[in-house]
Structures are given as C-alpha cells and as structure tokens.
C-alpha cells in the first residue's frame, strides 16, 4: 500500500495535473480533490497547487480560502494532516491563517519566471526530510504576487523557531537565478507551521521532477519523496 496524496483543484488552478504527475513519479498515488467537496477522500496528505485560483482577483488565494474543501483542510491541518502549498497554494495557506504573513505584488511589479536558487533551511518538516538543512537547490519560480511580508515580531518568531523553510540564495547576479527575486522580507521563500506538517513556498518543486523537461533538473522531487517516506514509515 502506498500513500494517497490529494491534489486540490480550485477554479483557476493550473498546476494540478503537473502536481499529480510529480506525486506519481515519487511513487505515491495522486488523488484529485475538488474545491466544492468537503470530503478529503481519506488522503494521507494534501497539496494545494499553483495557479491563479479565481484569477487571483481580490487577492491571490483570498477567494479559494473560503471553499468548502478548505474548511476541511484547515481543520485537519490543525490536527496534523500534512499540507503543502505551492505558489498559489502558499497564498491560500496564508489567507487561511494556517501560515503567518501575507503575499504581495513583487517589488518590481512584474511577473517573473526563472530557475530560482534556494537554500533549504529546515529539513525537519514533513515535506523536506529528504533534503539536508543548508542544501542548495534550483527550481522554477513564476509569479507576480510572490513578495512575502509579515511584521517584525512574526519574522523574528519564525526565525527563532526555525520555521523559515526556504530562503532565496543571495549570492551572485540576479540574472542567473541567484538573489531575492521579489523583495520578500528576510529572503523568505517558504515557511512551515510549528508542527512542521504545513509548508508553503512560492517556487515550484513539481516543475523540477524530470530530466530534460522544464529546467532539466530534478531538484524538486525531494518534496514528494519526503512525504512519501514519512507516510509509509508511519
């Protein structure tokens, strides 16, 4: 028996099919979940994929956060269900207050698509155990509302509790994938909740899982193998 990982589709979700592919490539079963359902179909973990749910109208993630499915996800996440929010999914998680802070328009005001260098800061979350803290990876980044902000107290708390999961690597030129791409405070690319089951990040691990496709790298596969191992070992 392998793990069942739910992949949510909101209206306007774009990366649901790609995420399902990544889940399968890691060896788990991908279970499509629909925003109108309340039922999680007994999945062992949930991914909120990227895209422009509800067109990102109002604020990215703001409308999806009120879907029937999210009510269940919010309850279960608080009870320990592993949840990964990628890009728009991360925005849904902050709008749901499962993760602190908020996402704003990039400081340069443009959509940006590039192969982004990151440092994995925490390997203690459900989704990062296959990496080692300090490891540098490169996965696609593509968004216009990717600037992470929170008040100083929250930022201090995240750092003190080791809850910054990923940082943009600040070395070198911005053009080659280094550097903070959007003005996110303290170079934060992704964070986790206290328990480590809920993780959100702006870059897209599901687009770096097959050699020769996209960036050609497979640095993102670790997210999906991490959760699979955790679930199967339980």
């Amino acid at each position: 028996m392998t793990a069942r990982i739910g992949v949510v589709t909101f209206p306007g979700t774009l990366d649901d099919r790609d995420t399902q592919r990544a889940v399968r490539l890691a060896g788990a079963e991908a279970v499509p979940l629909w925003h109108r359902d309340k039922d999680l179909k007994q999945v062992d973990a949930v991914v909120l994929p990227g895209g422009f749910s509800y067109g990102d109208y109002l604020r990215a993630g703001a409308i999806s956060r009120f879907s029937p499915l999210m009510e269940t996800v919010i309850d279960q996440a608080k009870a320990g269900l592993p949840v990964l929010g990628i890009c728009n999914g991360f925005q849904v998680l902050t709008e749901s207050h499962l993760l602190p802070g908020a996402m704003l328009r990039n400081n340069h005001l443009h959509f940006i698509c590039r192969d982004q260098k990151l440092r994995v800061e925490s390997d203690r979350t459900a989704w990062t155990a296959d990496y080692t803290a300090g490891q540098e990876i490169s996965i696609p980044l593509k968004n216009i509302d990717g600037r992470y902000v929170a008040d100083e107290r929250t930022l201090d708390m995240l750092e003190a509790e080791g809850r910054v999961a990923f940082r943009y690597l600040a070395r070198g030129e911005a053009a080659d994938g280094y550097g903070n791409p959007n003005g996110s405070l303290r170079d934060i690319a992704g964070i986790t909740n206290e328990a480590g089951n809920v993780v959100g990040l702006m870059p897209h691990p599901e687009h770096a899982v097959e050699p020769g496709i996209g960036t050609g790298r497979t640095d993102g596969l670790g997210f999906f193998t991490s959760i699979l191992k955790k679930l199967v070992n339980v």
Binding site: P11, G12, L14, D15, R17, D18, R21, A22, G51, F52, Y54, G55, D56, Y57, H110, F111, I112, C113, R114, P140, K142, I144, A175, H204, E206, H207, V209, E210, G212, I213, G214, T215
Partner: protein, 767 residues
C-alpha cells in the same frame, strides 16, 4: 458614432422587424457609418429582396468587413490551397478555426497565428490580452487542449517614448492572460523599427493537442439540435470594433470617437477551457465555434452556413451584462470568453451540468432548423431572416489593383554591399559589440521572463532557443516544435523573397532543434490594400510564400491577414510572419542552442556570401536599408534541415544555432552566453573576417560537434553535399572567468563584456 461609449446607435430604437423592413423600403440606413460601400449595401438588398433590418445590417456590416471577409486578400490567399503540397499529415486545412496536422501515434496538433494590432495600440494591456484569448479559443474550438502560446511582436523605435507606453503594456497583457490560463509561452519575436511607430504588430500563436477522434468542426447540423451559448455574459464590448478597428486608419479616429475596447477575463477563459474539454470528453457536441471578432453574428452565421440546415435563435435569451443593449448591439458585441455549441437534445442536460460544475453560464438560445435560413427573433418578433452563406461565406471579393511601386528599383539599387566596412580588427570588435547590444539583437529576457514557460510540465525548449518544443506524450516522448519568424526589412526590399526568407528561417529554426518541419501558419501584416503599392507587396508576399511552401512540402494550414497597418500615407514594412510546426519522435534528442562542453568543435554549415542587404549590420552601423535581401535556396534549406535532424537523432551534435539576422557572430555569441562558455574562431580560407562574421546568407547554421563524432558528422555532410567548414572550438568557461570570444588575428572580447552589452540594453530602455 455607433461605438462611442454611452451613445445609442444611429438607427431607430423601436424594433426594426423583418415585417417593418418590408413595409418601409425607403428608410435611410447607416450603411456607410457601418463601413459598408454603396454597392455592398445594394447587394444586401438584392440578396434579401428588400432592405435589411437594423439587425441584418449589423450582421452584414461586421461579417463583410475586411477583417472577417478577407475581401481584399482572398483572391491571393487562394494560392495557399492551389499550390498546397501533397502532405499526408494534413487532417484539416484552411477554412476551419485552425488547421490540424497528424503528428503520429494517434495525435493531432492544431496551431494558428493571429493579429491583434490595432487594439493593442489603443489599449496595450487589454489589446494584447484579448489577442491571446481569441487565438486560444480558436484552438479550443477544434477540440484540442491548448498547450503553448507564442507572441511575435513589433514596435516602433526602441527609444521612442510611445514604445515605453506600448511595449510594457503589451508584454504585461500577454503575460497576464497567458500565465493565468496556464499556457507556457515558448517563443516569439521582438522587433523594433520606426516603421511600426503608431502601428505596433501584436501577433499571437497558440498550439493545441488532441487525439484524431477528438477533432471538432464549426458546423450546425441535425434538425432539432440545440444552440447553446456559454461563457461570459454579453456586454457592450467592442461593438463595431470589428468593422471600425480593422478597416479604418487611426488618422480619422480621434480620441472622441475611440471605440470601446474589450476587456479580457483570463479566469473565465480558463474555466471555459476546462469545461469545454470535459464536454468534448463526454462527446456532447455536434459542432462548436468560438466567439471572436463579430461575436454572435459570426458564430451563428458560420455555424449555420457550414452545416446542413438552418438555424433559429431567440436573441432575448442571451444572458446580458448590460440590460440596455439593443438586439443589434448584442449581435455585434465582441465580449470575450464566449463559445457556441450545437448539442443534440438528449445531451443538453449533461452539457449544462458540466457548465454548472465549472461555474460557466450556459443558455440554450436556439436550434437547428430544417431549411436554409438563419432566423433571429427578439421577444417573439423576427428581426433577421437571411441565407447564412451570404453573411458568412459569400461576402464581397475585391480584385484590388496592384502595381510595383516606383521607388522599388531605387531601393534595390541602393546596394548595402557598398557600405563602408570595418577596416581593422579593432573596428570589427567595436561593431560586434554594437550589434549584440542593439535593441533588435539584444537579449529579450526582460520581456520573456514575464512569461511562464514551465507550466503544464511539458516544456522541452523555450525562448531563447531556436524553436519552442513541447512534449505531447510523456510515455513515448513524442513532441512538437514551433518557431515564428518574419523580417520586414527583407520583405520591403523584395516581398516575394522576404516571405520566402521568413518561411526558410522558421523552417530552419525548427530543424535546428531536431524536429521535422510539417506545416505552416502565417500572419500577414501589411498597410492599406487601397494603395496599389501595398497590394503589390501583398500579392508578391503571398505568391512567394505559397511557392516556397510547395517546394518545402509544408502546407499553409491557416492564418490571418491584418491590413491598414499604416499612419497616413505611410505603411509599415510588409511583414509576413510565418510559423512552422515540426514533429520530433523523441524530445530527449532535441538540440539546444547552448555551447556547453569545452573542446567541442564548431562547424559552419552552408555557404557564406557577401550578402548585406537588409542586414542587421547595415541597420545598426549605417542606419541603412537598401539592396537585395539574401538569396533564397529552398533546396539547400531542405538539405540543411535533413542534416540537422539526422545529426540530432544520431547524437552527432550537442548544440546548434541557426544563422539569421546578425549573422555568424550573433549566433556564436548567443550560444556562448547561453552555455556560459567561450569560443575561439578562425576565419576560414576564402572569406574575409567581415563577411564571415556579419553576412546574413540564408541556409546556414553553426553546430557544436563532440570530437568523437567529428568524422561521422563531416562524412555525412560530405556524402550529402552540404558545405561544412570547421571554424573553431568551444573554449573557456564563464564560471572560471576565462571565457572569451576570440576571432583569431582580429579581436578578443570577454564573455562578461558581451553579456553586459547583450543583456543590459532592453532593461535600460524600458525601466
């Protein structure tokens, strides 16, 4: 003015029914304001045997506009069919929403390029956004899942203040719409030239994939079948936009008369895509048509015209955003994100259910009838009763006069080969730096980084590669590649050759990445057809393109014509933009542009002659346009393509880049920058350094060959008769800070210097 916001149409507000029209033959009608000519109006009266109602007049006027009827261009476009090469891969040809090509393994691919030039000048963001939206619906209507977009763009001078307004808006609009739909942008063009000042060209291409059995056509058949309108509500968007935007120059359209602009809703379109694909999957439609220019007028008349029966529509059932719209306005509205489907009665419930699932509004607005009339009713009263073919497919045809302009000879006599050339290595070096930093040759990543190229997880190659490539089957690695090209400078010098060079370049770009070219789509951007000189350019370009397609065996599957791209008397350069689609059996064998491995050998394929007419060098260094464009040799292009494809399939080359504007040095610099490596070049015997570096002779490419493959590769070229010249070696890595481009005996440029020159130009101009 009908379309200025807030005002009402200039004809009576009380309903102009068919009955009323019959009874009042002498009512004055605003045919001229609607863009119709006197004889066209007379013909409508003749067809109907009475005066048209207001609604009928609205329909004929939009459908007989240049944009919808191709009245000036169709006598020339005919050649694409007449000269179409035998090609077993063609599944659906010209005439449908887009052509469809068999790519093997049961897959079919559809692609098409379209223009949204004028709207993008008025409102760059929305104009460009709705351009993407429109072409995506065309592809969707064929039954395909859209899988990628491309955007060939042309603007005025890079440093002109209006370019700062137009370009960022256009790019944001294309990105804003395409990114939100989840369509990877895999290529395009950005060209700057004074001639596009006031007439930017915003062309958009979409590629879609389906199984053979999923191909759908735009026709309404089966008496009793329901007509369902679904998607966005209908509002007052772009009413009259079709006839006015596409058939008049801007000179006459001051701000006060500005037509309404359509606003795109990419979120709605994304829902429309998913909803439509689910409907296709359950086999629920008998015919389908997107709503684009001319809105419901177009969709209903085309569906009815192509089908076997007639159609009856209850126009008052159309869901409205603005309850005050008149029936004429509803028929002409260009509200975006709408589709029209023909559905068998017992499938209607399921159809509506799927729409409800995706939050898409769907309404039965009519049905297919016996007979052959298109009848439209408004609250029970008949306002349209026409033969649909007369609206959709039998519009006027013009044989516009055309004549080679008097200035053409002088232009061609102004030979670029006589321009002063660099006299020393130092001067060559300076000109190389200038060239790679010039706006047309500079890196476009400031623009293309605003486009998502990874979404859908199937992108194999995207900009700045020679062609975009998408995997279409993850199990077999089957893929398709597409490139778009056009060179208005070449076409200005010789429109016949210019169109062929555009095709040759796109064909070469596809082959350079390892894919076999299969089919063509084109967007023909020209000035006013009422100018015999422009019409000559158009006639020459279409003839050139049709002839070349025949020789290369790549049929034109569809495309678009955009005329009236001119300011006052001055037309843009004739700009045929050509897209070539190719297929590759195994995407893991694709050939990228980047020189990656130090020590690999660089070979130049093809012949280099002294050809500088229309070249980037003549433009950048001398601000010159004159002479003749490079010679076209289509047999050579075909041979070059075969070699590049074989070499990729058999693993003989690791990188390849086609040579086009900017010549060899531009290509080598791009490949070095992409791979982070340097190169040492030797000027081959029989060539001077200047010609070697800057000539734009067609039919050439540069390849990087691993030493272990050298013999096999050169033997293959020799055996097949393709000139192959060793020109240097990949040497030095940027990461070790020792990468240079060294043209031995002439100059050395560090990669860092080249990178700065190449990459800083566009941001500096636009930020």
């Amino acid at each position: 003015m009908l379309h200025s916001s807030g005002e009402r149409p200039p004809y009576p507000r009380n309903l102009d029914t068919v009955k009323h029209a019959t009874e009042t033959p002498d009512v004055e009608q605003p045919w001229s304001e609607l863009g119709l000519k006197q004889d066209e109006y007379e013909r409508i009266r003749e067809i109907l045997g009475r005066r048209p109602t207001g609604a009928e007049l609205a329909m004929y006027s939009v459908m007989w506009s240049e944009h919808c009827s191709y009245k000036s261009s169709k006598v020339h476009l005919k050649q694409f069919g007449e000269k179409a090469p035998e090609n077993d891969a063609m599944l659906v040809g010209i005439g449908e929403n887009a052509g469809v090509v068999d790519v093997g393994q049961g897959y079919a691919v559809t692609f098409k390029v379209e223009s949204h030039n004028h709207p993008s000048y008025i409102e760059p963001y929305q104009g460009a956004a709705t351009g993407v939206g429109g072409i995506v619906r065309d592809i969707l209507a064929m039954g395909a899942r859209p899988v990628a977009v491309m955007d060939p763009l042309r603007f005025g001078a890079a440093d002109h203040p209006d370019t700062k307004r137009v370009l960022p808006g256009v790019v944001a609009g294309i990105g804003g719409y395409g990114n939100c739909l989840g369509l990877p942008n895999i290529g395009g063009e950005v060209v700057f030239d004074d001639c596009y000042q006031g007439n930017p060209l915003v062309n958009a291409l979409c590629v879609g994939v389906m199984k053979h059995e999923d191909i759908h056509l735009a026709k309404a058949s089966g008496t009793g079948n329901k007509v369902i309108l679904y998607g966005a509500r209908t509002g007052g968007d772009g009413i009259g936009g079709v006839s006015v935007l596409a058939s008049e120059t801007f000179e006459s359209t001051g701000p006060a008369k500005r037509p309404a602009v359509q606003v795109g809703d990419p979120f709605q379109e994304k829902l429309l895509i998913e909803c439509t694909l689910e409907i296709f999957k359950e086999n629920l439609v008998a015919g389908i048509q997107d709503l684009g220019g001319a809105g419901l007028s177009c969709a209903t008349s085309e569906l009815a015209s192509a089908g076997s029966g007639g159609m009856r529509v209850e126009l008052d059932t159309v869901p409205l955003r603005d309850a005050t719209l008149s029936p004429e306005e509803i028929l002409m509205s260009e509200s975006q994100e709408r589709m029209c489907a023909i559905v068998e009665p017992d499938k209607v419930d399921r159809f509506l259910e799927i729409c409800e699932k995706w939050d898409v509004i769907a309404t039965v607005i009519g049905e297919v009838t016996e007979g052959d009339r298109l009848e439209i009713f408004w609250h029970g009263e008949q306002i349209v009763d026409v033969p649909p073919r007369s609206v959709a497919h039998e519009g006027p045809t013009y044989h516009r006069p055309y004549e080679r302009p008097s200035w053409q000879d002088a232009l061609q006599a102004d030979d670029a080969n006589k321009l002063p050339r660099p006299a020393s290595g130092a001067e060559l070096k300076e000109q190389v730096l200038k060239l790679v930093a010039s706006p047309n040759q500079a890196s476009k990543s400031w623009i293309t980084d605003q486009y998502d190229r990874f979404v859908q997880g199937n992108t194999v190659l995207a900009q700045p590669e020679d062609s975009g490539m998408i995997r279409i089957d993850a199990d077999t690695n089957l893929g398709v590649a597409v490139a778009t090209d056009g060179n208005g400078r070449y076409a200005k010098l010789d429109p016949y050759a210019g169109a062929q060079l555009a095709l040759a370049e796109a064909y070469r770009n596809v082959a350079t990445t390892g894919a076999k070219p299969l089919a063509v789509s084109d967007c023909l951007n020209f000035g006013s057809p009422e100018d015999p000189a422009v019409m000559w350019q158009f006639a020459e370009a279409t003839r050139g393109l049709a002839d070349a397609c025949q020789t290369l065996g790549t049929p034109v599957t569809g495309g678009n014509v955009s005329l009236y791209n001119q300011t006052g008397e001055t037309a843009i350069h004739p700009t045929p933009v050509v897209a070539v689609l190719g297929v590759i059996d195994d995407v893991t064998r694709r050939t990228p542009v980047a020189f990656k491995e130090e020590g690999q050998l660089l070979y130049l394929l093809g012949d280099t002659k002294e050809e500088f007419g229309g070249s980037a060098w003549s433009q950048v260094i001398h601000g010159h346009l004159g002479g003749l464009p490079p010679a076209v040799d289509l047999e050579r292009e075909r041979l070059l393509a075969e070699i590049l494809i074989s070499a990729s399939r058999d693993g003989m080359i690791d990188a390849a880049h086609d040579l086009s504007d900017g010549g060899l040095i531009q290509a080598v610099v791009e490949s070095c920058l992409r791979g982070g490596t340097g190169a040492r070049l030797v000027v081959p015997d029989g060539l001077d350094a200047f010609t070697f570096l800057f000539s734009e002779s067609a039919g050439r490419a540069v390849v990087a060959v691993p030493r272990s493959e050298e013999l096999r590769f050169t033997d293959m070229c020799g055996a097949r008769g393709l000139p192959v010249t060793r020109i240097g070696v990949v040497d030095g890595a940027e990461s070790d800070s020792n990468a240079v481009v060294d043209v031995q005996g002439e100059f050395v440029l560090s990669l860092a210097e080249l990178r700065t020159a190449h990459e800083e130009t566009i941001p500096a101009l636009l930020v």
